[in-house]
């Protein structure tokens, strides 16, 4: 009896502690949402009080001003382009690297995954020059293609580690049946990579969708190509005294991610885990 009460007590202390910490997590997000519907004067005079009037026109103003729909489309295009290329190129490369181990493939493996250690800032200066030469800067598609290069190392690393868990007999039997390598990969191996593909997609979508520096250098010049985060950033810079619009812009930038997260929480969390821990 005594032990169980002690246990129950400990459990409650634990829940209390977790709840307190979670307040540090909820409160800032709550403040952002709440201040986004306050008129200017109210934010300045009291940042944490509830709004007395709901200033929804903050939203109409910002949505119009930053051309939200357009930016949203840009983000979708850039992210989709990036993801398709990353998954396609790195999954098949990882497959060959794992199944056909020889001098060439192991050197290739090393070449492909080493860039994981190069901090982006070390090359951002010259990347810009290089991308201008091949006309990949200044366009959404071009930026998407650049993400292939930046996403492949990590994705290959994850795919390669996961590939070990798929028994070789599976594709060997397909080859014996006369299927080509490519055919085997597409119709037999790739479906088996589902869980780890989700990992790659989840990690890369979060990264590309929210990325800042690369889009800043590549597509910031025009509203036709800008991303949401960039727009929020420049907008906040321009409105650095107008916190009400800045808050609204921030909310508009994070709301898509939060909605997606709420609906796909299970897949996202499982996805993060599948590749990272099994790898």
């Amino acid at each position: 009896m005594k032990i169980t009460t002690k246990r129950a007590l400990r459990k409650w202390v634990l829940i209390l502690a977790v709840t307190l910490i979670s307040i540090i997590y909820i409160y800032p997000v709550y403040l952002m949402f709440m201040n986004s519907v306050k008129p200017f004067g109210e934010i300045v005079s009291d940042a944490i009080a509830l709004p007395t009037t709901l200033a929804w026109d903050n939203y109409t103003y910002v949505i119009k001003k930053i051309k939200y729909v357009k930016l949203f489309t840009n983000n979708v295009i850039i992210t989709c382009t990036g993801i398709v290329g990353i998954v396609a190129f790195s999954s098949i490369a990882a497959y060959i690297m794992d199944r056909r181990k020889n001098r060439f493939t192991s050197i290739a493996h090393l070449i492909v995954i080493t860039p994981m250690l190069i901090p982006f800032q070390t090359i951002m200066i010259t990347l810009l020059k290089a991308m201008n030469v091949i006309h990949l800067s200044g366009s959404r598609f071009g930026l998407g293609v650049q993400y292939w290069g930046f996403g492949i190392p990590m994705a290959t690393f994850i795919f390669f580690n996961f590939m070990k868990t798929i028994p070789k007999e599976i594709d060997e039997s397909a080859i014996i049946d006369g299927a080509s390598t490519f055919r085997t990969f597409i119709s037999i191996i790739f479906p088996l990579l589902k869980s780890v593909t989700v990992t790659v997609i989840v990690l890369d979508v979060m990264w590309i969708w929210n990325d800042f520096l690369l889009p800043l250098l590549m597509v910031n010049s025009s509203n036709k190509t800008k991303t949401l985060v960039l727009a929020a950033y420049t907008f906040i810079g321009q409105m650095n005294t107008k916190w009400h619009y800045a808050m609204t812009a921030m909310v508009l930038a994070v709301v898509p991610s939060i909605i997606i997260f709420i609906f796909l929480q299970k897949y996202i969390v499982d996805g993060v885990v599948a590749g990272a821990v099994k790898g």
């Binding site: 382009t81 396609a88 091949i134 200044g138 598609f141």
Partner: protein
């Protein structure tokens, strides 16, 4: 040549990548883009000679990429008005404040040079001179304010007109007249001693004398320049000579008593009688504290805060005065001038169309009235129209009676000013002594400006 080789190398690599990549689901889109990017290169080169023959009646597209987003609405109106004058000219206007230098450099290096771009005036005129068109002899020369034009000369050669300004500016202290009246101070202090007395009185009445905005690096350059002028006056040289004496390593900050003593005393005073968290107070906090009547004076601000302050508190009684910097009331002079410059790309394919636009802006009736009526700025042109803004009204009155000081921030680049701001922040934070800070300022001034 090197660029050519690299280009070929990279293009080949890309095309190969894309071709090899076929067979994947995304193939059609990829190969079409590869073709497109190959075609784009020669097409661009051919476009240049053709464009030279264009006249203003023909269609032209001007790409304008400038800082100062606070005037975006006004500039859009200007562009719309020009659309009626020259319907065939399209102006693509883009503006940003954050990271403007980064993005401009990105564009210059990518060959996508804007037809109109911006920099600060003075020293930075030379930094971008290679790209910049000399407007000497253009129609606008007759209307531009000579004080503004002086800032657009190349400091190296002492001539040229390498830019125009969107606005003139007045730099001084924006203060709350009501508080000064309430505590019984009739005229704004002109010496350091008067300022100290005023602070004591204001503080005793339960107000905070200063809100300082020391979280912003540019607040320091705006405040500091009045001290530089006074120090130069005391040394019997011009402010430009003072700056170059430090940059060349001949003198140090410590050699100028007004910089070494008065400037740091002033900062100490502002911190003592200022915000609770000086290094966390930024522009927005300053505006709110001033407008709400908590604080009597702001540092480092000017005409640009008037709109915000009045929108927070429409009954605010705004006063504008010069920084008291020494025992000599004559040193307390506001500073007038234009600290930024709009430049025109001299190699622009649309040079004529661009200059037509700029000349129209500075010489047409609409353009001339625009500064006051639409943008609400100190006109950078010769004009006698009246402004609605208190800072501008009081500023021009002050410069008429007391004269205006030299806009000496322009003798250095913002690279230095940013470092200067950081060094001053470290001083305020107490991580560096006065002597160490002065020495670091001397060193950085020479290192950064010497290199540029």
């Amino acid at each position: 040549m090197k660029k050519r080789i690299l280009s070929v190398l990279l293009s080949t690599a890309m095309v190969a990548t894309l071709l090899v990549g076929c067979g994947q689901s995304a193939a059609p889109a990829e190969s079409s883009d590869a073709a497109a990017s190959e075609e784009a290169a020669p097409a661009k080169e051919e476009a240049a000679p053709a464009a030279e023959e264009e006249t203003s009646d023909e269609e032209a597209e001007i790409y304008m990429f400038i800082s100062s987003p606070e005037y975006a609405d006004a500039i859009n109106e200007l562009i719309d008005a020009y659309g009626e004058v020259a319907p065939n000219v399209t102006i693509n206007y883009e503006t940003t404040q954050n990271d403007y230098p980064t993005l401009l450099k990105a564009k210059l290096n990518s060959g996508e040079v804007p037809d109109i771009f911006s920099s600060t005036s003075g020293k930075e005129i030379d930094v971008y001179k290679e790209w910049s068109y000399d407007m000497t002899g253009e129609a606008l020369e007759s209307t531009i304010d000579p004080a503004v034009a002086a800032m657009m000369k190349s400091p190296e050669t002492g001539d040229g007109l390498y830019g125009i300004a969107i606005k003139g500016n007045y730099f001084g202290i924006v203060y709350n007249k009501a508080i000064f009246e309430e505590v019984g101070i009739a005229s704004f202090p002109k010496t350091m001693d008067e300022l100290k007395t005023a602070c004591e009185k204001i503080s005793a009445a339960g107000y905070k004398p200063f809100t300082t905005g020391f979280a912003e690096w540019w607040v320091f350059k705006h405040c500091g320049q009045t001290f530089v002028n006074a120090a130069a006056r005391e040394a019997g040289i011009t402010s430009a000579e003072l700056v170059s004496s430090i940059v060349k390593g001949e003198k140090t900050v410590a050699d100028y008593p007004i910089l070494m003593n008065n400037w740091f005393d002033f900062i100490d005073l502002a911190v003592k009688y200022g915000d609770d968290k000086p290094l966390e107070t930024a522009l927005a906090n300053e505006e709110a504290a001033l407008a709400n009547g908590e604080c009597a004076m702001t540092l480092g601000q000017g005409a640009w805060i008037e709109g915000d302050v009045m929108s927070i508190n429409p009954d605010f009684k705004l006063g504008f005065a010069a920084y008291p910097v020494s025992d000599n009331p004559a040193d307390a002079k506001i500073i007038a001038g234009s600290d930024q410059a709009l430049r025109v790309n001299k190699d622009s394919a649309q040079l004529k169309a661009t200059m037509d636009f700029i000349n129209w802006w500075y010489t047409s009736d609409y353009g001339k009235a625009w500064f006051n009526d639409v943008a609400g700025v100190v006109p950078p042109i010769l004009s006698d129209s009246e402004s609605e803004f208190e800072v501008i009204k009081q500023g021009s009155a002050l410069s008429a009676t007391d004269g205006a000081g030299d806009l000496n921030i322009c003798y250095s680049t913002d690279s230095f000013h940013q470092t200067f701001g950081e060094l001053m922040q470290a001083y305020i934070a107490g991580t560096a002594t006065r002597e160490a800070t002065a020495q670091a300022i001397t060193e950085q001034w020479a290192a950064i400006e010497g290199a540029n």
